[in-house]
Structure formats: C-alpha cells, structure tokens
Symmetry: C2
Subunit: 374 residues, 2 copies
Amino acid sequence: MSFAFDIQARDGRARSGVLRTTRGDIRTPAFMPVGTAATVKAMRPESVRETGADILLGNTYHLMLRPGAERIARLGGLHRFMNWDGPILTDSGGFQVMSLASLRKLTEAGVRFSSHIDGSKHVLSPESSMEIQRLLGSDIVMAFDECPALPADKARIAASMRLSMRWAQRSRDAFGDRPGHALFGIQQGGLARDLREESAEALRAIGFDGYAIGGLAVGEGQAAMFEVLDHAPQMLPEDRPRYLMGVGKPDDIVGAVLRGVDMFDCVLPSRSGRTGQAWTRRGPVNLRNARHRDDPRPLDESCTCPACRGYSRAYLHHVTRADEIIGSMLLTWHNLQYYQDLMAGLRQAIADGDLAGFIAAFDRQRAEGDIEPL
Amino acid sequence: MSFAFDIQARDGRARSGVLRTTRGDIRTPAFMPVGTAATVKAMRPESVRETGADILLGNTYHLMLRPGAERIARLGGLHRFMNWDGPILTDSGGFQVMSLASLRKLTEAGVRFSSHIDGSKHVLSPESSMEIQRLLGSDIVMAFDECPALPADKARIAASMRLSMRWAQRSRDAFGDRPGHALFGIQQGGLARDLREESAEALRAIGFDGYAIGGLAVGEGQAAMFEVLDHAPQMLPEDRPRYLMGVGKPDDIVGAVLRGVDMFDCVLPSRSGRTGQAWTRRGPVNLRNARHRDDPRPLDESCTCPACRGYSRAYLHHVTRADEIIGSMLLTWHNLQYYQDLMAGLRQAIADGDLAGFIAAFDRQRAEGDIEPL
C-alpha cells in the first residue's frame, strides 16, 4: 500500500480519517474540486487551497489532447504546470472518452477515438492510460475502465463490467511498483447487486491502494444510487479509501458519507458558479433571479468566502446578469467553499459521533428556504 | 479646491506628486484601471489594489443603464457595491454615449439615446450626468462633454468644443459645492492649438479641481497626439492635476508624462489580458503564439505578479488557447501590474531627476525583444 489511510473515527458505516500522501494529507470524507484542463475554472490554485481543498482532480482525456501528457512531463509534471503542490488524482480517461470523443471504436485492447478539439486520432488502453497518468505525475492514478451508457440491459452491464475487470488487471500490471503513487481500482456493475459483488471480488483479488465506485450518477436518480450505496461500499476493503466518482449534489454527498464513502469529485460547484447558481446551507440559489436585484444582504451571512464577505446579492445578481468574469470567480469560490465547509462539518460530526444530528440540521436548514423575503 | 495636490518633484515638464482625496492618496503620475460595469474585468478589487493601483475609473454610461445609478445609491454607493474603498473617478458618459448608444439625438440640452443593452430610452445632459455621478458616490466627477467623431473639419471641432465649454459651465453649476468630491473639466479642440487654447481659457475661467485633456487617442496616431501634448498641458493650471483620458500604450504614457501629464486611464491592459496579449518591460507578447508552447520560462522573470511567479509561458499559452478563465485572470493581473510598475518607475525617476535615463532604459529594453529564443 503506497499511502497510509488512518481511519480516526466511525459513526455507523461512516468514517473520517486521513489519507497520507507524499504531497500532503487528505482529510476524509474529502471533496476534490475538478481541474479538467489544468485549472479549476475561474479559480487560482491558491484560492482553491484557501477553501480547504486537500486534493484536486485532473482529467486524463482533456490533458492528453491539450496540451499533451509528454509536454506536461517535459515541463516538470502537472503539479508544477498548474501551480498546485498538493496531491492530484487523475481519472483514467475512460469516462470522458465515451462521453466526449467522436468516432470511438471499442475493442478488448482499448478505445480508438478522435479528439473533440481537433479531430486528431488517439488510443486509450489500460497501458496507455497508465503511461499518460505517469507522465502527468498523478499521485492517485485510476485504473482504466469502460462506462457503459445507460439505460443498458443487464447482459450489457455485465459484459462491460467484466471487460473493466480485465482492464483493471492490465492497469495493475502496467502501473507496476511506483513508490509515492497509488493506484485505485473502479467497481462497476450498474444497479445490480450481484454484478457489484462480482466486480468487488475481482478488484480485491487484484489488490489496489483504494477503491472507487463507478458507473453511478449517470442519470439513475438519487434513490437508485442510494440503494446501490446501501451495499456497494461494504463490498470493498474496509481499510482502504472508497471513492464515489462524479458525485454530486450536497445531499448526494451527505447520503453517501452516511453509507461509508470517503472521497468525492464533481464539476457541479464550479460549473454552477459559472451560470449564476450558488449552493448554500439553505439550498441552491439562482443569482440571476430578479428578486436579488435590490437585496443588500450577503449570499450567506455565515459563509467566510470573499463573495459572502465583500458583496451583496444585488452585486452578484448584477455581475451574473452582465456576464462579468468576476461573477464566475466569486460564485465558484463560494460554491467550493460551501462544499469544503460541508465536508469539514461531516468530518467533525463523525468525530463527535453525531452524524445523525448533523444530517437533521442539514435537512432543516435546507427546508427553511434560501433567505427571508426582504 | 476639494483635494490638495502636492507636487513633490519636477523633471523638465514632468511632475510627480500626491493628490489627497478623502478616500486615500493618489500617487501621480497615476494609472487608473477601468472598472466599467462595477468590476475591473477578471480581477477581484483586492488584487487590483495589490498591483499598486490607488484609484479606479467607473463608466457612468454603463452603470446608469445597468444596474442603474439610483439602485447603486440605494445599495450604499459604488464603492460599497463593488467592494473598493479607495477613490473612484467616473467619466461623464459623454464619450460612451457617442460610441455605444443607438438612436442618438444631440441638442444644446444634451443627448437622447437608446441603451445598447435593452433599447430603453435615456437622456444625458450636464445636469443628469452630475446627478448620476453624485448617486454613484464618485470621488472625482468629470464634466459632461461631447466628443466629436474624427476625422472632422475644424469648424465642426470648434463648434463641438464650444458646446462642451457651455456644458462645462452647466456641469460646474449643477455640481455645486460638494466637500470631499472633486469636479474635473475637460479640454477639447482636437489637434488645433488655437482651439485647445480657447478651451483651456474657458475652463480656467470656470474653475475646476483638475483638468482633463479629452479628444485624443481616437485614431490620430502617437505623433499627432504628442504634438498636441507638446503644448496642451501647459495651457492648464500648473497647480492642479492634468488627466489624459483613455491613454494608452506604455510608450504613449511615458511620452505624456514627459510632457506634463499626471493621470491616465485605459482599458488596454485589462482588455489585452482577455485576448492573450501581455505587456512587459520588453514590449508586447502574444501568448497565443505557438513559440510559447514548450517554454518553461516565466512571462517576465523580473515581474512580481502571480502570473510571472507561478506559471510558465507554456502554461499561459495553454490556458489562453483553451479559453480558460484563469488565462484572463492571470494576464489581466500581469498587465495591470506592469502598468503600475511603470508608473512607479516614472514617479521614482522624476523624484530622482533622471526621467531621461529612465526613458532611455525603457526604450532599450523594448528594443531587445521580448525574450531570447529557447
């Protein structure tokens, strides 16, 4: 095992702890902001750090196409390139190649595709994904997997999962022994409990430094996702971090932590910040709405981010409607701050043994509505 | 006079000093970043302050249309609205209404026009411009003037200048007595020395807290502008600040300071920052150019801004080509830092009595080219 994972407290199935990497500790449950193209959009990395983020996620698919993994390696690796000295997790490219690339051809060997940027031809396979993630200098490398488009019948899901498990073995073999770097396997199997169990067994047999739950948050809805999470995390090794990929809304994260998940990533807080949508303790707030036009109050009076300390809702409404870059900058910062504050609250609640109380307060605040009428 | 203006050093016609406002000192020669719509685009105001800016410029035309001057007044004024507690100068709206608005009708009374945003009808006159700038809470208010489109014959320039002088008197009358706020008059007269003299006489007779040189940097070219500046600043009161509106490139500013100008504003550094263009001691650099693709060196090794301290030219090239917001953020910061460093260098050179040496070094550095080949 490359990185020590110290579970420091438990409350039911939920755990809080620290994953110790060579580039710094990751406090879990952890939310990883997404820095797709070597930037968390509209944020300087110093600001991302200020929100309390311990680790970023980079997208292998985007970076291999532009500026290119070899180029980033020549320039000293992704950390130096994007000016982030904390840990970075890179995905394998498997999800994005299926959702963004054109002219895809999937075989046992891997995926041939054309770039969505310039049409150039590329190949992703377990071996090339490991090599690209090595060139990037990723601290936590994800095994290369296939994400089947949903809805799909069980036979298709099963075949896809078994392909991903063969690719997981090839990823493990290609990754080799890299002290100071970790490799995570990805459980697949859709919504089927027996396939999730089969996948988990295959991954445990190979042996990884951490285990992701893949193939969720792809349109199945929260209830179906929670049904999977009622059993899937328990199928994975108790002593290693569990990472739910691409999740999610604040209440998705709370429900997943309750069910034993340790790590998350999602574009939602940063993407929302660029469209005038804020996430707060009182639920989502659309700053483009005219009701904020004359509101002198901060977005969230209890938040410590620059948007809430320095500006009124009226200002955030104005810059959002006027498509000013500072609107994206301030709302992205706020949203990432809210997400990190939520994770800190969950960690503290687990340490205090009062996750139930935290969740009751979380639900109550959201039910109150986003703010009183002026 | 509302604000004391202490001229602390002279070198030839150039002066350095301090304009003391109720919201803080403005070191001159000063460059004012432009915050058109209540934001210096892609910058938080704390960052603008970090570059060394003492004062911002706001655009009356944009703010009256969106979010509206009355709204800003109800929200506590422009300073609180945009989270900038230093001095703010607002233009009169005269220039923008002629360049941006549609369905303009110009009379002795003022200008009727339709908003370029939503087509709504508005009026700008000396009296309404003073009222709007009062509602915004501007520290330095500009008299309302007309800027004739160039090229125009001398009779047209003369008639326009005389209208602006009648409007200057009405601006002065409407402004009244507002302790803690200053009113600047604007000299017009195009490239004609006799018209510039007539305009300066009219303004001096009315009496203002400062004097702007208007109607330049509208396509006449640097040589023609410098010919005007060889005499125009000397026509204005020696003991009050002189402000050259809408200027300019770094070498425009250096030449204007040499000729006795104290204040400047221009969108160039911020606008350039959003299109991949950087301004440096070695001249302009287009980061979109492929030659930067693999360059590990900073944009300017002697610059202290975050773009130069944290990133390679290769990274700036990447984020500029990928249209990432951080590209606009970093290059705008750099450009504003460069402009403020240039002003600080000019102030020091004047204090040292070596403006000629400074300008020689300025020209030499630019002649060397932006960087050695890799």
